[in-house]
Amino acid sequence: MTMSINMRPDNTPPADIEPGARYGFFTDTSVCIGCKACEVACKEWNGIASEVEAMTGNSYDNTGTLDATSWRHVAFIEKSERSAPSRATTVPGPAHDMVWLMSSDVCKHCTEAACLDVCPTGSLFRTEFGSVVVQPDICNGCGYCVPACPFGVIGKNETDGRAGKCTLCYDRLKGGNEPACAQACPTQSIQFGPLEGLRATAARRLDVLHEAGVAQARLYGHDPSDGIGGAGAMFLLLDTPDVYGLPPEPRTTTRDLPQMWRTAGRAAAGLLLGIALVVAGDRS
C-alpha cells in the first residue's frame, strides 16, 4: 500500500475557524454510506421542517432534490451493468455485479456566485468565511436567485416566501464549530476545512483511487478556472456529473452580463431611433 493510503483525511475541523480565510467542503463520495445523517443534522440544526411524503421509488432517495427546505441531499444511483467497477480503494477491477453510488449534494458556495450577483436586495452576501449566505431578514422573495443558480440549489420557500439554501452553518462557524453535516458524517465523506487544504486532500485522494485502479474517479468543482471560478464545495465523483444530477459544465451567467447590457443598449437605442424615424418620417 502507498503511504498516502495511510493518511487519514485532514478533515478534523481546523483548531480555530478564522474569519478571513475561505472555508468549504470536500465531499468524498467514494466513502459515503448513504446514512443521511448529514440531511438530518442539517435540518435539525437549522430548524427546517420535515415533510413526510410518499415513497419515491428512486432507490433509497426520498428527499429528491436540493431546495429551500433540503440543504443537503443524498443521491442514490444504482447501476446494474454487470462487471461495473468497484468503489474499492484497494482491490481494482470488478468485484461487484453493480454499483450503488451515494453522494451528498450541497450548495457549491461558488467563487462567482450567480445567486449572489443577481440578488437585488443584497440579501445574499459573501461572508467572512467565503461562503454565500441568505439574510432572511432582507430577502423579499423576488425569486431571482432561483433560476440564476447553475446548480438549481437555492429555492423559494412557499411557506415563508423567502429563498433558502445551505449557509455553510454560518452561525456555527462564527462560534468556532464545524458545520453540522460534516460533524455528523460518520465516514468523513464530508470534510470541512480551509479551501486550499481541501483542494490538496482531494487531489491526494484522487491519486490514491487512480493508483488503486478506480479509473472512473474524478473531481468536480475543484478547478478555479471552471465556469464558476471554482466551487467552495467540491466533490470526488465516481461517474460523470450528470449521473448525479450535476451540470457537466456549470457557468455563472453573469459572466455574460456586459455583453448582454451592450445588446440591451443597442436594443434601447434602436427603439428610440426607430420611433424617432417613424415620427419624423410621418408627414401626413
Partner: protein, 845 residues
Amino acid sequence: MGSNMAENHPVGFQWVVEAQRRGATIIHADPRFTRTSAVADVHVALRPGTDIAFLGGLINYVLSNEREFREYVVAYSNAATIIDADFVDTEDLDGFFSGWDPETRTYDSTSWQYAGVQEKASAGDREGGGAGAERSGGHGGDHGGGTPREDPSLSDPHCVFQLLKRHFSRYTPEMVERTCGVPQARFEEVAEALCDNSGRERTGSICYAVGWTHHEVGVQNVRAAAILQTLLGNIGRPGGGIMALRGHASIQGSTDIPTLYDLLPGYIPMPHADTAATLDEFIQSDSPGGGYWGNMRAYTVSLLKAWYGDAATAENDFCFDHLPRITGDHSTYQSTLGMLDGSVKGFFVLGENPAVGSANSGMHRKAMANLDWLVVRDFQEIESASFWYDAPEIETGELSTNRIATEVFLLPAAAHTEKSGSFTQTQRLLQWHDKAVDPVGDCRSELWFFHHLGRLVRERLAGSNDPRDRAVLDLTWDYPVEGPFDDPRPEAVLEEINGHDADGRPLSTYTDLADDGSTSCGCWIYCGCNADGINQARRRKPGSEQTWVAPEWGWAWPANRRILYNRASADPDGVPWSERKRYIAWDEAAGRWTGADVPDFKTDKRPDYQPPPDATGPAAISGRSPFIMQSDGKAWLFVPAGLADGPMPTAYEPNESPVHNPVYRRQNNPTTEPIPSAENPNNHSPRPAGDHDPYPFALTTYRLTEHHTAGAMSRSVARLNELQPEMFCEVSPELAGMRGLVNGGWATIITSRAAIEARVLVTARLKPLRIDGRTVHTVGMPFHWGTRGETTGDSANDLLGLALDPNVHIQNTKAQTCDITAGRRPRGPARRTLVEEHRNGEAQR
C-alpha cells in the same frame, strides 16, 4: 457476513472505512447488495440461510490447501485431541451425527467426547434433556479427570483435525456454487483474500450480527466462523477476532447481567430443578474442574452474598435455595405458547414491542389477548399496548375488542437521556452516561420502577413466615434514593455489581472472589468496574492522550481487557508471532506477561508452566494454553459437549426453503425447536420434486438505517419518516417481470401465516441466484412498520413462522419462503380468506 454494518452500525463502520483507507480489503457477504456492499471491495451475493455451506467451503479451502496457521492450530486448538472411536460423522449418516434419538429428537453427546474422558460443558447443563441443553457463552467443558490423548502430528484418523478435514471435504467450491449461488471465481477470490490476510504477519476479522444468528442454525453459523478463525490464527490477536455487532444500546449488558431465563449474572447457569438441589450439587453438576469456570463456586457464593447479604450464610447454603429453578425451556416463544394455552396469565413488556418485533407477531398479539394482565412500560402507546383495539386481527374478525379480557397497564418510561447508567456495547465496554434532563410527567426509570415495586411487594409480605416469601424478604433491598421521586442511585447498583470484601472495600478483580462468603459481587465478570470506588465506566480520556489500545476509555469486562484470550498474540514460548502483530508477550526479566492491553492470562504464569495432574481451576491451565475459560485451555474446533445440534457445523436448509438440501439427504437441522401451535402453520417448502409450491420464493427481513427495529422509536420521528416514509419490499427486475410488479406500486406478500402489503422497490440489488440448476428469487423487506405512529404499514413479522435454534431458541427471521403478487391485499375478513385459500390451494395440488 450476516451483518449490514454500514446501515445498522454506521458509527462503528467509520473504523471499517478507516481500515479500508489503510489498505484493508473489505468483503461483504449478503443476499442483498446493501449500503455496506456499496463501499466494500468485494460483494458476495449468497442465498439466505446458506452461510454454513459458504463458511464450510472456506474451511475446506484452508484445510485442503494447507493454508492453516499450523503452529497456532497445533498449540492453541484441540486439533490434536483424539475423539472417542464411537463418534460417527454426518458423512456416514446422511447428515446426522452419532447419538441421534428420533424419539426425543435430541442428541446424546457421549460419543462426541474426547477419547477416554467425560467432557462436560461448563456453563451448565441448564434444561436437563441430556446434551441437548444449551450453554450460553458456550464455555469449554470439563474433562472429569484424566487428560485427553493428543497427536501433535495431526495425522491420527480420530484426531479433531482429521475429523474436521473429512467433515468439510464435501464443501468444495462447486458445492458452494450449487448451494449458495456464489460463482466459484468469486468464492476463491474471497478465500484467497482471507488466507493472504492471516498468519504471523497479518490478521483478519469477521463481523456478524443477526444475518447469522436469526436461523435454526444460528449458533452453528458462528461456530463455523470460530473454526475458520482458529485455523487461520485470527483469535486473541490484534486485528483478528469475530465481532458480534450487538443490537440495542445495551443488549450486551442484558446478556451479561441477564434478562434471560436460563442465566444468572456473569453466565452462571440458572439452577435446574433436577440437578441443583444444593449449592454443592449445582457446582458439582455445572462447574468444570479446569479453567476459570473452576471457580464457579466463588462467583456464585459472592453473587448470593450480594443479593442476600447477611442472610446468606455457610449454614443455609448462602440462600442458594432462594434461587428459582428452571425445569425446561421457558424462553420467549414458549411463554407465548403459555399465554395461548392460558398457563401464562401475566406479562411484563419493558423496552420491547413484541406485537411488531416478534416473529409471527399475529400469534403474539393473539397470545397477549389471552392474558389476565399486561404491563407495558414505554414512551408511548405502542402496538403491544393497543393491540386490543387496533390489531390487524380486529379488522379480520379473528379478535374482537369486547372479547379481550386482558387488563393493560401502560406506564410511561424515562428515556436514556433522562437517567444515568451504563451501556455495555459490542466490545464488552461499559460506558457510563449521565442524566441530561429530568423525565417529564410520570415518566420513571426502570431502576425506579423495580426498586419501588420490590419495596411495595416486600411491605406486603412483611411479617409473613411462609418460607417461600423468604426469597423476597431476605433480599438486600436498601438502595439509597435521591431526588423528588426517590430515585435509587444508579451508582449504588454499580457498587453492588462490582462487589466488596468483608470490610466493605470495593474489589478490583474477580480473582479476589472467595467461596467462603467473605466477598460479595453482583456479577463476577464486572468485578473491577468500580475498582477503588471509582466509576471506571465513566472514564473518558481521549484516545489521543493514551495508548492506541485506549484502556482508559470506559471499562471492558473482564478486568478491562480489550482483546480476549490475548495470550494467543504470542507464540507458545511467549514471543510475539511477529513484531507487526505484537500485543501481549512474556517478559522473562520481569517474569510477567506485558503489553498494551491487560493480559488475559495469569500475569506471572510462565509459558513453560505445566499443571500437576491433580490441578483444578486456573491452575489446571498450562502456560501454553491461552483459552483460559475452556477446561483444557484450548480453542475448540470440535465441540465434544455443550451444543444441541452437533460438534461441527453442518449445512442444512432452513426450516422453510425454496430448494432441497444440495449438501446432504437430511433437509434441515434435525434438532430444530418447533413451536407447535395452530397459530404457527408451516409453509412446507420445498414440496416433493415436481409438486407445485405455493410459496416458491425465498423471504428475508432486515433493517434500514432510517428506522429502528419495531419502529416505535422511529415511526414517531418526522425527521426519519421523511427519509423512509413507507413499508416496502425489494425485488429483482426479473421477479418483478414474472409477477407484474411495478416500481413504486403495491405488492401483496403471502405466507401460510399472513398476507401483508408493501410498496414495491424494483432493484438489481436483489439478484436472482442459480441454485442447483434452477433460479431462486428472493423477496426482501424491512420489519419496522406497524399500525401506529406517524407513518404506518403492515408488519413483516406477521408473515414469519416460528422454528427455533435448539441452543438459544432464537427465531429465524432471515430465511423463509413466501409468494408475492401485484396489487394491495384484501381488507377485512377477506384478508384471512386469502391466506387460507392460498394454504388450501396448496393442499389440493
